[in-house]
Symmetry: D2
Subunit: 304 residues, 4 copies
């Protein structure tokens, strides 16, 4: 595949795109980002790299981090993880409590906020120094010591995160949170504050394009089966109540974050990260989704 | 891939399987089927065929037919189809009315009953002789004139199908059914009564494994893009509230029917049909799901 | 109580009222009514009568009839009625299906549409000639042979009543409708088409103000206990999701209809009927509620 | 009315009652109460007193206190209170979050937990020393300085009250809690820990039976209109999803607590408190409801 040519076509295509999205503004740190930032980075499993725009600039990866926390918890907790969180699409918004009440505190999947909080609870139980150990895990799989939490963002989330506090207390009431709620919330808000560039994201996620093994280091991050299952969950649940739309139009497993980032995986081929801060009404990057739709339509190369 | 060897492994594996499923019994015609029937048929895109057990015996394909009605309606109605039905997983049981009320008569996707009824309404509007034209479409794509409705089953469904009558009236109240409700219901009950064998199913669905073109006849059933999108919808919505489980464990786009059949597609490789009448609690074939999980696990060849 | 003086105060008060309601228009027969019609009639248990405006003009009583169908079914079926319908406020709109799905086809109360349909089903089972026998019951309790169904309205409701068709089919699927759905719907649409004047309504309902006995004829319509219980259900469920508002502001058991009528009962004192066709957003007569609020506030005489 | 005779009939009746209830056990302080405790106290508006059993023994009044916090907040905040909490029955369990999500953080009524928390938030804003001022209010209206919070119970509730923490955080996310969530929760847990005897309860609530004025002191606790409205809300919402059942069988405005207490009001006649710790499945005193049903049935004196 001639990705170089494809990227210049994308660049041309974008000039005429009327971006109708809006930057997330529920905390000032996200609201103050330059709305016109735009980057893409694609890394193939044989380690070729293609990029466009602001692909080396760090941004708040937000919920994209939930794939990595799931990967680590799945590795540590194995199949018994699924006693506490499902693998089904939620059919509702990312922070809904309704489903949680009908299903007695068991979140539908690990990517909605409630499910990600359960994963945090598992990591808090399993890791000696949760925050330190988790960031080390990311640095390891990306071969990049230069990745960190953003204290300013995690503090800001904490000040406004009443809905997440509601979720964690609600699940604690059902017995599905084992640790102190404030510790779990603190870990969660840190998780979502991690900052990475498109390039760093594409490289950190490459193991999911190559059956769980990082192609550069040949280290197994997760087993083949786990790698496939994480991709399956991304496919079904990575875009909240727009998961179908993303599958329908893009046709790759992927995960978005409210900072405007999207990671997508073509198993056996590549991982790609896109960043554009303006979000559509469902909270996913407006331009990011368009770029990925263009990419897989033009190359007729979705997984379907 | 050595499918022949794989099929004998599956046969061996099944001997020790404790099938906990139960045959559907809401109508006598389904309840009377021999619960121990079991068949598999796999057809590759280069037209090699592998089978096991009762793979030539016809059974009631039930909801599997909804993929074919979608294919025809999508072909005829193009993208404006999606004004009247979504592409998102429902997050609820196949015949729930709850979501329909919150979303003002627009079904979540074309595979839950409400969505399939909207598709039927579109075909009733578009086709001159709906029942005759639709069965001809199936005969054409499968190259098999020997496929038909089962009057006994459609009549039986009609006598007990009050919940489907509720759904179609409810959507009519929202203006999302254009034709007479009884005509739409009659078409729907016929659709679900079609009888096919595993072999016939695998061959009829082969176009979805080869970008919309039937490999034998080279006829385009649907466009490349539509073929991929139908697969994407199957992946996300083909197993109702067990879609995640199926993706997680099997990792192929697929669709089940309450008669115990499952069709699954490996794009670029093959289509496979499995039949075993005993259903799990979610209404999907218990043994059928196990077989497909075994198949993709053993070969490490899911799409993810 | 000097009702005469009170009625002239009400008349004065109404001159400055800005009526923000809208006439129901889902069927032309209701939409064509003169929006400025207005009538009140109050009958005391010692048979004094007070009226204002168009109190002798017949109008479509619609859901007000559901109190009378309940009274007759309760009389005939006794306490076992409550196996098939609850006595709890619905907390949702009058025609919601959501609650019905969660509660497996048992309607919350006999005044929401689903509950009224179950009552109709009971009367269809119990009465020899349901439509004839029911209208005779009303003629009897009101001592007025001049009360009848309006065929034009019932036919019009039937043509557009898809939501009610959905409800009755849905409950049939749960086994909570025993008769043919079309016969139950026909009875229901007739029930809602009855035409009465404010005077006729106040007199027909007087038994509920006097412990179940009609004061004029001394005939027991229902027992003391049943009379109290019907009032209790009206208090909690008579105004759908505005029941609390009506209790809060008016403080009497009452029942509204989409034709703009309201009946209210002061046990031991009087029954009162008000008619003004313009409805508030919840589907209850805007001016009618104001009049009753004025009445009980001015006299400080609610049941609370 | 010969209440003395009535009370001995009640005593006789109770001997044959098979009490199927279960004592609340979610905190040890409630679980350890003697399940056979039983008391009644009735106070008439002309200050006659009738009692039976353990009517002078203090118990945890729990949610009954929510009527008194509403009375004080309504007095202080007047009609603008209703911008932040509704007056409609919830149609769901007392601690449901579902309705709160659909209605954007506005609780249905002041007696479900979420609504009571909003009332607490208002009192925290309005009162200088919330806990001290509130208990003084109760001491005043009951003419009894001997009423207090129970620290052991409030501490125990705090340790297990994750669901209430979820509710208050959830409403804070919608902007419907103005104060710090921990302060509001602390006030709430104290409120529910108040201990009173049947006699003290009946006397403290007597103002609601006499148009807002305490008959002994002639002091206006709340206005006539407010008194009637509080009764109306009790009638519709005092028993959570059993409000209809209580209205239907007892026919008086009332409020229950999970400690096994019930207060009921016959406007113009009396207030009555009953205590029996064993609860039915809906969380209301099993025997307490039976006693009140017997009382109003025997005397044929419900408000309906």
């Amino acid at each position: 595949m001639n990705y170089k040519k494809l990227f210049s076509e994308i660049a041309a295509e974008l000039e005429s795109l009327d971006d109708k999205g809006k930057v997330a503004s529920y905390i000032p740190e996200l609201g103050n980002v330059d709305p016109n930032k735009f980057g893409i980075h694609l890394t193939t499993v044989d380690n070729k790299n293609y990029s466009l725009g602001d692909s080396n600039e760090k941004f708040s990866i937000q919920s994209i981090a939930k794939v990595l926390s799931l990967a680590l918890a799945f590795k540590l907790d194995d199949e018994k993880l699924w006693d506490r969180v499902g693998v089904e699409p939620s059919g509702t918004a990312f922070n809904s409590l309704v489903q949680l009440e009908y299903e007695k505190g068991i979140p539908r999947n690990p990517f909605i906020n409630s499910g990600a909080l359960v994963i945090c609870d598992i990591l808090v139980s399993r890791l000696e120094n949760p925050k330190q150990d988790f960031i080390e895990f990311i640095r390891n799989i990306s071969g990049n010591p230069n990745i960190d939490y953003c204290l300013k963002i995690s503090e800001s989330e904490k000040r406004t995160g009443f809905r997440n506090a509601a979720l964690v207390n609600f699940m604690k009431a059902y017995g599905n949170i084992k640790n102190n709620v404030d510790i779990v919330l603190d870990f969660y808000f840190n998780l979502c504050s991690i900052e990475m560039s498109c390039k760093e994201l594409a490289q950190a996620f490459l193991f999911l394009a190559s059956n769980g093994v990082h192609p550069a280091t040949h280290a197994e991050v997760v087993s083949v089966s786990k790698s496939k299952r994480i991709n399956a969950i991304m496919q079904l649940c990575g875009f909240y109540d727009e998961a179908g739309e993303f599958s329908f139009k893009v046709g790759l497993p992927g995960k978005s974050g409210v900072g405007g980032g999207i990671i997508a995986i073509h198993p056996g081929k590549y991982s790609i990260a896109v960043w554009s801060p303006k979000l559509n009404k469902k909270g996913n990057s407006y331009k990011g989704m368009k770029v990925l739709e263009f990419l897989t339509s033009r190359t007729q190369s979705s997984i379907f």
